[in-house]
C-alpha cells in the first residue's frame, strides 16, 4: 500500500498528488515526488538512448525503484506521452512485491486514460476526476485508527 501517489505532467508540474490521510507534513511528499523527477528524467533519457528505434513500441513504462530513502521506497512509471506516475511506499512495508507495484501503476495508467478520455477534461489541467481519485485512494494506506484506551 502506498503512502503517496503522484501524477506529473509532461512539463513536470504536478497533475495530482495524494497522500495517505494520516501524514502530517504533506509538503514533504511533494518534495519527495519532486526530487524523484531528476531520476525519472535521467532514466527516461537513458532508456531512450539504450533502446533502438525498432523497440520503441515495446518500451517498458515501469521504471522500477527510483531511489531508496530511509523511510520510503519510490517507484516510477512513465507513459508514452511522458506523463509520470510516482508511488511512494513506506520502507517498512516489505511485503509489497515488484509485480504488485507494476499492477498498481497499470491501474493508475488505466484510470488516467479514462480521465483523459473525458471530453470535458482539458489536457494539462489538474486531475479532479472522482473515479481517478477513488482508484488512487484504493491504493493508499488507509488511516490508522487510534486504538481506544481500554476502559476499566
Amino acid at each position: 500500500m502506498a503512502v503517496c501517489i503522484g501524477v506529473i505532467a509532461k512539463e513536470n508540474y504536478p497533475l495530482y498528488i495524494r497522500c495517505a490521510p494520516n501524514v502530517e507534513n504533506e509538503v514533504n511528499f511533494h518534495f519527495t515526488v519532486h526530487t524523484s523527477l531528476d531520476v525519472i528524467e535521467e532514466k527516461v533519457a537513458s532508456l531512450g538512448k539504450s533502446t533502438s528505434i525498432s523497440t520503441t513500441d515495446l518500451r517498458e513504462f515501469y521504471l522500477g525503484q527510483l531511489y531508496p530513502s530511509e523511510d520510503y521506497r519510490i517507484y516510477g512509471y512513465v507513459t508514452n506521452t511522458k506523463v509520470k506516475f510516482v508511488i511512494v511506499v513506506e520502507a517498512a512495508n516489505t511485503q509489497l512485491r515488484d509485480n504488485e507495484v507494476r499492477s498498481m501503476f497499470r491501474r493508475l495508467h488505466n484510470a488516467y486514460t479514462d480521465v483523459i478520455c473525458n471530453p470535458f477534461h482539458v489536457p494539462g489541467d489538474k486531475i479532479k476526476s472522482k473515479s481517478f481519485d477513488s482508484v488512487a485512494s484504493s491504493m493508499i494506506v488507509p488511516e490508522r485508527k487510534k486504538e481506544n484506551p481500554l476502559v476499566i
Binding site: E11, Y13, P14, E26, H30, F31, H34, D38, E42, K43
Partner: protein, 1111 residues
Amino acid sequence: MSIVDFSAAPHHHAEILICIQVAGNLQAQQLENALSKIRKHTRLTIADAGRVVYFRFQVDASPENSKWGIFQPHRKSMGFIMLAGCSTAMDVALMHQKFQKNKEVFAEYIFDSRCFVFGIDNAMLQQNKAEVYQYSDVEAWKTCDRDIKDFLTSVFYVLESKRVHIASDKSDRPPLLTAPFEANQSSNSDSDSRSFRKKTFGRWKKHLADISLLAGLYLEALQNYRIAIDALGFVNDQVWLGCALEGLCVVSAIVLYPQGTEIPQISFEKHEDVQKQTLDPKNLLSWNLTGAPSTMELSKFCVNGTEDFIEKYKDGVICYTRCQDMAVVEVEACIKATKVLSTLRKPLKAAEFIQNAIYIGLNITHAERITKYDCMANLYTKINFHRKSSFYKRIAAMQCVAPNLEQPDWFGCNLLLQGTLLGSKLDLTNDRGVPDDSLTPYYGWPQIQLRILHELIFASRRIGDNQMANRYTVYLLMKMNKHLTDAEIKEYCLSLETSANKISQEKETELLQLQDGTILPSLHLYTLPIVSSVSPQRLAEHLRPYKLNSSKISTSVFLFSPFSQQTDDTTHNIDFQWTVNTLSETCLKITNPLSVHNLRLTGLKLICEMKSTEEKVGKLFECHSVAVDVPAQASIDVSLVVVPYTHGCIHITGYEFVLFGIKSRCLFSLMPWLKVNEFEIEVAPELPLLQKTPSSSKENLEVDLYPGEKKTVEVQLSNLSDITIDTINVTSTVTMPTVMTSFLSTRSRPRLDDSTFGFKCRDINLPLLPRQRDVLVVELIAKFENYEDSNVITNQPDARYEGHVKLRYTGIEGRNINWCREEKFVVSASLHPGLFVEKLEVLPSNKQGQCWVSITLINFSQQSVVISSKRDGNIENEASEQIVDRDEQVQLQFHIPALNIKSSKASLEKYKSWNVAPSSECVNNLQTQLSELLDLKWKIPESQRSGTIDLSTCSLSRDSVVNLIKPPLLWEVFFNDGDVTETGHCDVVISEPYTLTVKITNKSDCCIPSLDADLELFQDQLNGFREWNMEDCLLCLSSQSQNFQQVEPGSVVEFECILVFLLAGVYHVRLHRAPSNLCDVGHVMRTSSGNEQCENFHNFSPKLIVSARVR
C-alpha cells in the same frame, strides 16, 4: 578519524599532504600572499628521479587524520610548514618554541618541516637553527620558490627512500599493518597462519602501492594494487580490500579519466620536461631512464572500462560498509566516486553513491551536518540533479536555523535557500510571463515553490535584506498569485507598500545580487498588472490631418500582390496620423490579476521613440503620466497622452509605471500576447484649426424649401490656432434618409446630390489670420422633380435632406507637404411637397421650326400657387399668370421655336449613327434650354415664398425630344414664284405650265454629302387609296428626281420642275427624300424602326396640295 573531508577528490590519493600552521600575528592579507606562494608548488618535477610528484597543502590538517597514514598514506601529513608573524625578537623565540612543540604533534608522521617567520629581518636575531627562516615581510620572501622546492624535494626523497625500502624489504615476517581501529584486534590473531601471512603481504603491497602512487610511480602503484586485491580478497580482509579496490579505481580514474580528477597536470605523455633532462645514470633512484610509462602501458593494469570502474568502486564501498569505523572513509569514497562518475556522465550511478553517502551514519557536529547536506547538494548539481540538489540545500538551510539551536544562522540559511532557486525552477531574473489564462497551466511545482519563497522571504527579513525580500514578494505576486490565498496577497501587498514608502525616501534602488554572485537585473512588472491590449486612438474628427491631394499613389503596379503581405507584421503600422502639438491618446487595457488588492500605479506613461524628419533640438515629444488605481480582478481602460513636438514618425514601444516603489519599463516586444512590437504613427506638421462658431451643430443650419426654391445659410468660421489659414477647399454632398425615397420618383434616387439639391458655397476671403473670423455662405436650391409615378404618396411628411459641407484647410507649412485638416458641418433642409411636373410633352407644330410644349403641374403644397411665365415674342401661351389651388393640376401650353442642339462635334457624330438614341447629355441640354426659354416661376402669396420651375430634371419622351429639336433642313416652296410654304395649298388652271421650286436650306451644323430629292405626285381619293398613276392627269416637264452633292451648312439648294395639270382635281405634290441616304442626315435621329421612320419623314416633307380646275 572523525572529520570528514567533504571536498575529497580522487586525485588526493596521488598527492603528498603538507600541513600548514599559522601562528603569531600574521595579517590576513600577508597570510593569503604567503599561502598562494606556497600553493604554486603543487607540482614538483624531480629531475633526478625522473618523476613528477604532487603536493596538497592543507591549513591546520588534523593530526588525527595522520593516524590513518598507514591505512591511507595520503591522509598523513608528511611535511609541516609553520607560517609565523613576529614583531620582536622575543616573539621569534616564542615562535621557535611553538614550532618545536607543534612539530612534536606530527613528529611520528612528518618527514621534514619548515618554519617561516615574517616581520623580523635582523640578522642579529637570526637564530641559526635549521628549518627556521626569517624574512622581514612576505613580499621580501624572494627565496620562496627555492625554499619550498627544497623542502618538498626533501620530503619526496624521504618518502622515496621509504618506498624503496618497503619495495626491497625481503624480511620473512613483516609486521601486520593495521588501521587505527584495528590496533587492538591484531594482537589476538594467529600470526603464524598462512592467511595471516597472506593478509600481511596483501596489506604491505597495498601500502607500497599507496606510497608508489604518492611518489609518482603509477605503474608500480597499479601493479601493487592488483597484487594486494588478489591477496586480500583471498583472506577476506574486507577493510583493506576495500581500500585497495578504491586505490585501484582512483589510479585508474587518474590515468583513464584525467578530466574527471580535476588535475589535468597528470598527463603521461606530457612529461617532456622530465625526459629532456639528462638523468644521472648512477642515481639509483632513477627509476626509468627511458621516461615515464605511457598511458597505454598503464591502462593494461587499470580497471576495464567504466562499468568495471563502477563495479570495483562499489565493491570497495561495500567492503567499507561492513565496518562501522570506516564511515568517514566510506563517505569520502562515495564523494570521490561521484566526482569521477559525474564527468563520465553516469548520473544514475553517481546518484546511487550520493544516496549511499547520505545515509551513512556519521557522528558529526551540527555544523558538519550542514556542510554534509550542502556538499551532497553540490554533488547533485554536478550530475544535473537540480531538484535533488535544491532539496538538500533546503535541508541544509533548515538545519542552519533548527529550532534547537541557540543562535540560528539566518545568513547561512538565506545563502543555502538561494541555492534552491534553480532546482525549484524559480527564475528571479525572469520578469515576463503570459497573462493569466486558464488554458496555459502553471509550469512549476506550486507547493514547493511557495514553500521556498515563503522561507526565502522570511530569511531575508530576518537578516534585514528587505530589498531581496521585496523581490521575492513581487515574484510571488507576479507569478504565483493564483496559488496564494486572499489574506496572503493582502499581507504581501501591504508589506510591499510600506517598504516602498521607505525606499522612495532612500536612494534609487540598486541592482540586487544573490549571494552566489548572480546579479538580478532590475525587475519590470510585465504581468502585474497585465496590459492586454494597446490601441493608439485616432484624433477627434476636427483635429485629424488629411492629405490635401488624396490621390493615392500606389507603390505597386499591381492591385494585389502577395508580396505586400510579407511586410513585417510586428511593427503595427497605423493608417491614421497624429499632428504636432495635439494631445494624442493611446488606450491601454490594464488588468489586475490579484484577487483582493487594488494596484495603485503611479507615473504611468508611454515609452516612445521619435524619428524626426527635420533637425530639431530639444524635446521631440512629451508623454504625460497618470496615476491609476486598478481594482482587484478588474480591467480598466486608461488613455495615455503623448504630444509630438515635431513631425515625422513616432514609435510607441512600451509603457512605464511605478508600483510598490518599483519602476517598471515594459516593452511591447517582450509581451508575446500583444503580437505587436511597436506602433508606428506618422505625425503630420502643425496645422491650423478652423471651427464653426458657435460650434453647436444645431444652430441655425436648418432650412425648409419648396421644390424650385433657393435659400442661403451663413456659417461663421473662426481660426482658433496661431497659424494663418491660406487654403480652404469646400466640397459638399447631399444625403437623404432612406425613409424618404418612396416619396420621390425612383428615377431621381440615384442622382440625389445633383438633382434634388443644389449646394453652392461662396468662397471665403483668404488668408484667414489667427483668431479671425469669416463667414461662409451656403446656397441651397431645391430642384424640381418630375412627378411620374402614379402611386406616390402625396401626403408624406416633409423630406429631409442633409447637405454635408466639408472644408479642407491648411496653413503654409501644411500645404507644402500636403497636409490639411477638415471641418465638417451639416446643413439640413426639409423639402415640402410643392409643385410637381406631372407631364412634360412637346408636340409638333404645323409651322416649320416650331413646336408646342405642354406642361402639366400638380400642386401638392398646402397653399395655392401662382405660376408665371416670361412674356416674350417668341412664345405663345394662354395667360402669363395662373393660380393653382392645392391638390389641383393645371396644364400650361406654349408654342415655342424648336431648339438647336448645342453640343460638341463629337456628340453630334455620335447621334448621327443609326441606332443610337440621342444622348442624355443632349436631352439635358435641351431641357435646360427649354427651362431658360420658358423661365417659369411660382409664388405662394400666403407665405411669401417663390421659386422657379425647373424642367431640366423632368423626363421627356423620345417623341417629345424629336419634336423639340429644330429640323436640320428648312424648305420653302414656291409655285410660279408665289410662296406657298405657309399655306401649302394653291389653285391652278389645267393645261397651263407651273413652275415648282423647292428651296432646301441646310440648317444643321454638318455637311450633307449627298441629298436625293424625289418628287411624288399622287391623288388621294380619301378612301384610303392613293392613285399614283398620273400619266393621264399631269405632265412633268423636267426630271422628277434630283441629286445634290455636298450640301454645306447654311447653303441652299433648289429643286425645280415644271408641272402641267391635264385634268381637274386635287393633286398632292411631295418632295421625297430617298430613304437610301437617310443615314447621312440629321433626321436620322427621329427614327429608330422601319414604319415610324417613314411617317416621321413624310410629316416633315415639303408638300403641296394643288387644286386644278378648268379655266
